[in-house]
């Protein structure tokens, strides 16, 4: 049993080695002296006595060795010696060491960067108390094709009250709200999120200062309150705790600050949120139909302790069933379900990140293959040295251990360099990433990442080090020590290992490149998609008019009309318009509808809506296909009109003329319904994303149906971004208290729609390029080695009259055979695995024939060059020289 004393002895042996050695010698000398004295007493002469004593003692050096072993730190001393030896030996071949370390650093660096992202996004726990007890509650409606959809407030409240398994249920609005802060310098628009009063307590987040909302504040209390985010608290209020209790002017109203949230929730419910505001619903809304009909909440529930998710789901389904029967008008087919909160928040980015993680793992394997080959070549060159050591009595295990230590040293050096590259890589990742794909603002090298890197470094050392180490110790010493023993006759075993490595590398490189090529083709297809509008030269400016000063629809309309008019007069602006929703960013709102003259069974489902000013279609380059667009005559007091897009016309009015038909945006119109007349058909715009089909949509005039928010569109023939300052001045001139929520050009919007694909493409493309280069270099290296070994043979053949090409073919044939095997394995793997990235592809089949033909061809061509060059060089050597070569 290890004791403190034992430990001290070990430490002493390690750190006070000379003293321990001295004591050992002293003790043994003392023993010999006593034995000699004893022998003399027995009557021997001094010399004989000393000699016998020595003999009886046994081998002195062997005894010393045995005692050193017994000290228990031998393995550590050996290890340190091996490390020193490895460093010296690597210094002697700097090119090889440099190449190996660089290769490893690239592979490990890529893994560091990607795993950091994975760890930050997927593995990091949510900043809530006991996050595994939190679930998202969603609604589903098979009729409308809803699944995991946002919920209606009345339903949410019923779930909260009637499902006993939920300890608490909170919710937040699904959109990004805003509030203009005035009275603190320039008016600034803050990103706001609307939440129920109990949301923070349900999630288990405690404020750093002050308090969170109370459950009562879900409803109107008469005192508007707000909670600040950590970021805005630090930036704008200098992290002063006294800000709690202060009154701010938001959207013209006096609002009291009641607390500050920690930075850990700074990205909830979306990145960049500045303040949270309570719902403050009027109590009488609870029983209104609209409260159950309009769906706009994301709902989170915490399970009671001890309740399983299955129990909770069963109770939820029972409640849903009850609601379906109690409120058939709205809830007849409305179902609900639960998903763990973590999965919901992260799910979107999980697959791309995991694909990237797989790609860099493959890249690392290729890198290890190359380093393994390098070490094999080196081991072949060190045959004599190893043979000498074996002959001098080193155990084979010791030699293998030494070789493995060398691999470990190489791997650790590569790992350290890789960490540096990887850290730098995370900076690049953050720069490159499309907005909000990775919902973290900082990917740092956490302990988990360091541990992962350390683990893969060790694995690498073993992967590429084991073969050369074991092989190196297998040579029979006598053979290698012979004078004239060819150092190039590395034997079949080494070559076979090299062959295996090459085949593996080619296969992996193929796999990686096929993946990258599929994503590349996807991207090309995506860029070719017609968004339905012309983005060039258009700037959009988002404004939201606050309640306080624009308290009637007339005031709102008057402002917007004037704004559009004045915008037209700005220098450089050729056209202006307004819209309540930009294409490629999402639907403004959805509804069902009924056409005048349809039977009771016919209903239109889930169509989109947004509102535009008359010049919209000209400004955005959207053709009007039939009928007319809007005119200034389509005022609020005029007959209600509406336009439909091409898809809606095709779906609901096939073969007929929709112009003049009347529609109401209710499934079952009643006396309150507004009937609108269709006056025209316009071309589809892609409302949600380039990769998604256009949705059926109604478009209404802003004058008749608009709200407080509007995107002002300014078209110019030059650079739209240059209009920014003039637009700002225009708005400040019309209302100095008004803040601009966002300003983007339509080109940027379109780019954002491509951003995710472009991100994946950039990364996968980079990895596959590096992988292919490494693989080709690996093939070249092995072929060069092979060719070098056959120089003599080539010389003989040429001397006997063979053509250079024939001789080269001997070597190349071997190489091509390996490449072909690699291709075969790689293709099979690619065929099997490409299905797993279907979600990343757009309009491209996972088994896309063009990809699966062009990538192997590309690889074969590069590999052939890599095989031919060394063969060429080897055969060029003059035959006489070749024959004399050793």
């Amino acid at each position: 049993m290890p004791t403190l004393n034992g430990l001290l002895l070990r430490l002493k042996a390690l750190f006070r080695k000379s003293q321990a050695e001295q004591e050992m010698n002293e003790e043994m000398q003392h023993h010999l002296a006593l034995e000699t004295a004893h022998n003399r007493e027995l009557g021997m002469t001094t010399t004989d006595a000393a000699r016998k004593a020595r003999l009886d003692f046994g081998g002195l050096e062997a005894a010393r060795e045995a005692e050193r072993d017994a000290r228990g730190v031998r393995w550590l001393e050996d290890f340190v010696a091996d490390v020193r030896y490895a460093l010296r030996s690597l210094r002697r071949s700097p090119v090889l060491a440099g190449a190996a370390i660089l290769t490893l650093a690239l592979g490990i660096g890529a893994n560091t960067a990607i795993f950091s992202a994975v760890s930050a996004v997927i593995l990091r726990p949510l900043p809530f108390h006991e996050p595994d007890r939190l679930y998202i509650l969603w609604e589903q409606n098979p009729e409308k094709g809803w699944y995991k959809n946002i919920a209606a407030p009345a339903n949410m409240l019923d779930w909260k009250e009637q499902v006993a398994a939920f300890q608490d249920v909170g919710a937040w609005a699904d959109w990004r709200s805003s509030a203009t802060l005035t009275g603190e310098g320039r008016p600034v628009v803050l990103n706001s999120a609307l939440v129920t009063g109990n949301l923070f307590s349900a999630l288990g987040v405690r404020p750093t200062v002050g308090r969170a909302f109370t459950p009562e504040e879900t409803w109107e209390t008469g005192t508007p309150v707000v909670v600040l985010s950590d970021r805005i608290w630090r930036n704008r209020f200098k992290a002063d705790p006294a800000v709690v209790g202060r009154t701010l002017r938001l959207d013209g109203a006096a609002v009291q600050v009641v607390g500050v949230m920690p930075s850990s929730v700074g990205a909830f419910p979306y990145e960049g949120v500045d303040i949270w505001q309570p719902m403050a619903w009027k109590p009488d809304r609870r029983s209104q139909v609209s409260f159950r009909r309009a769906h706009w909440l994301r709902v989170a529930a915490r399970l009671k302790p001890g309740v399983t998710p299955e129990e909770a789901d069963a109770q939820l389904q029972a409640t849903v069933h009850r609601l379906q029967q109690d409120y058939p008008a709205t809830n007849r087919v409305m179902g609900a379900g639960m998903t763990p909160l973590h999965e919901f928040l992260v799910g979107d980015t999980r697959q791309p990140l995991l694909v990237l993680l797989g790609a860099v793992a493959v890249l690392l394997l290729i890198a290890c293959g190359n380093v393994g080959n390098l070490l094999l070549v080196r081991a072949a060159g060190m045959e004599r040295e190893v043979a000498l050591r074996l002959a001098l009595g080193a155990g084979r295990g010791r030699v293998v251990r030494q070789a493995l230590t060398e691999s470990l040293v190489l791997s650790l050096l590569g790992g350290v360099a890789g960490l540096a590259i990887g850290w730098w890589g995370t900076r690049i990742l953050i720069l490159l990433q499309p907005a909000n794909m990775l919902p973290v603002h900082d990917i740092s090298l956490s302990w988990m990442v360091l541990a992962y890197i350390f683990a893969i470094t060790l694995t690498c050392a073993f992967l590429f080090g084991a073969a050369p180490a074991v092989w190196g110790a297998r040579r029979a010493p006598a053979e290698a020590l012979k004078e004239g023993g060819k150092s190039g006759s590395s034997g079949h075993r080494a070559r076979r290992w090299s062959d295996v490595l090459v085949v593996g590398e080619v296969a992996l490189a193929l796999l990686l490149t096929v993946g990258a090529c599929l994503v590349l083709r996807s991207f090309w297809r995506l860029t070719a998609v017609d968004p339905g509008f012309e983005p060039k030269g258009v700037l959009s400016v988002l404004l939201v008019l606050p309640d306080a000063r624009y308290d009637s629809p007339q005031k709102v309309q008057a402002f917007f009309t004037e704004l559009v008019r004045r915008g037209r007069e700005l220098p450089g602006v050729t056209m202006t318009a307004g819209t309540t929703s930009l294409p490629l960013t999402g639907l403004r709102w959805t509804s069902d509808f009924k056409v005048d003259g349809w039977g009771p069974e016919q209903v239109g489902f889930e169509v989109g809506h947004h509102e535009v000013t008359p010049d919209y279609f000209r400004t955005m380059g959207v053709p009007v296909l039939r009928g007319r667009a809007f005119t200034p005559a389509d005022r609020d007091s005029a007959p209600q009109v509406v336009l439909i897009n091409q898809s809606l016309a095709a779906r609901y009015f096939p073969g007929e003329d929709p112009i003049g038909r009347r529609v109401a945006f209710d499934k079952v119109p009643d006396s309150n319904s507004v009937w609108r007349t269709i006056v025209g058909v316009v071309q589809d715009e892609r409302q949600v994303a380039l990769s998604l089909e256009p949705r059926n949509e109604f478009i209404a005039p802003v004058a008749q149906d608009g709200g407080r928010g509007l995107y002002l569109l300014l078209k110019t023939s030059g650079d739209p971004a240059s209009l920014g300052p003039t637009a700002r001045d225009l708005i400040a001139g019309m209302d100095p208290e008004l803040g601009i929520l966002s300003m983007t050009t339509m080109d940027e919007i379109r780019d954002r729609s491509l951003a995710r694909q472009r991100f994946m493409l950039t990364l996968l493309g980079a990895f596959s390029l590096v992988g292919m280069v490494l693989a080709v270099v690996g093939v070249y290296g092995v072929m060069a080695q092979l060719a070098r070994g056959r120089v003599r043979e080539m010389g003989i053949r040429i001397a006997l009259g063979a053509q250079a090409a024939e001789v080269q073919w001997l070597v190349v044939r071997h190489g091509l055979r390996l490449v072909a095997m690699g291709l075969g394995i790689g293709l099979s793997a690619a065929l099997l695995l490409s299905r797993s990235i279907t979600a990343l592809l757009f309009q491209i089949q996972p088994l896309d024939p063009i990809t699966f033909v062009s990538v192997p061809v590309l690889l074969v061509l590069s590999a052939m060059a890599a095989c031919w060059l060394p063969a060429l060089r080897a055969s060029r050597a003059s035959p006489a020289l070749a024959l004399r070569t050793d």
Partner: protein, 109 residues
């Protein structure tokens, strides 16, 4: 006198422990005592004594310290620790069982 028989490593440990039971000794003293007490049958390979002592020290069964010997030279004396005493008891017991078992086999077969 019969040729000295080779000792197994474990047996050597046991003998050292037993020899140290009455009083602390230095290395040479231990080897002499074993030789004498075994009436010359066991001639300890003195080179293997010191590694054994080191092992026992690391295990914590003996403790060594430098002291002045009889002839006033510096010598390292080893003594049995409490754990060593316990180990001695256990090792003796297993040795006895071993010897018994061997005896059974020799008698029956």
């Amino acid at each position: 006198m019969a040729a000295p028989s080779d000792l197994l490593q474990g047996t050597l440990d046991l003998l050292i422990l037993r020899t140290l039971k009455p009083e602390p000794m230095h290395g040479w003293g231990i080897s002499q005592r074993i030789q004498q007490t075994s009436r010359g049958v066991l001639d300890v390979n003195q080179g293997s004594l010191y590694p054994a002592l080191r092992r026992l020290e690391v295990k914590g069964w003996v403790a060594g310290e430098w002291r002045a010997s009889e002839s006033n030279r510096r010598a390292r004396y080893y003594r049995l620790t409490v754990q060593g005493r316990r180990a001695l008891g256990a090792e003796t017991e297993s040795w006895r069982r071993y010897v018994e078992a061997v005896a059974w086999i020799l008698e029956t077969v």
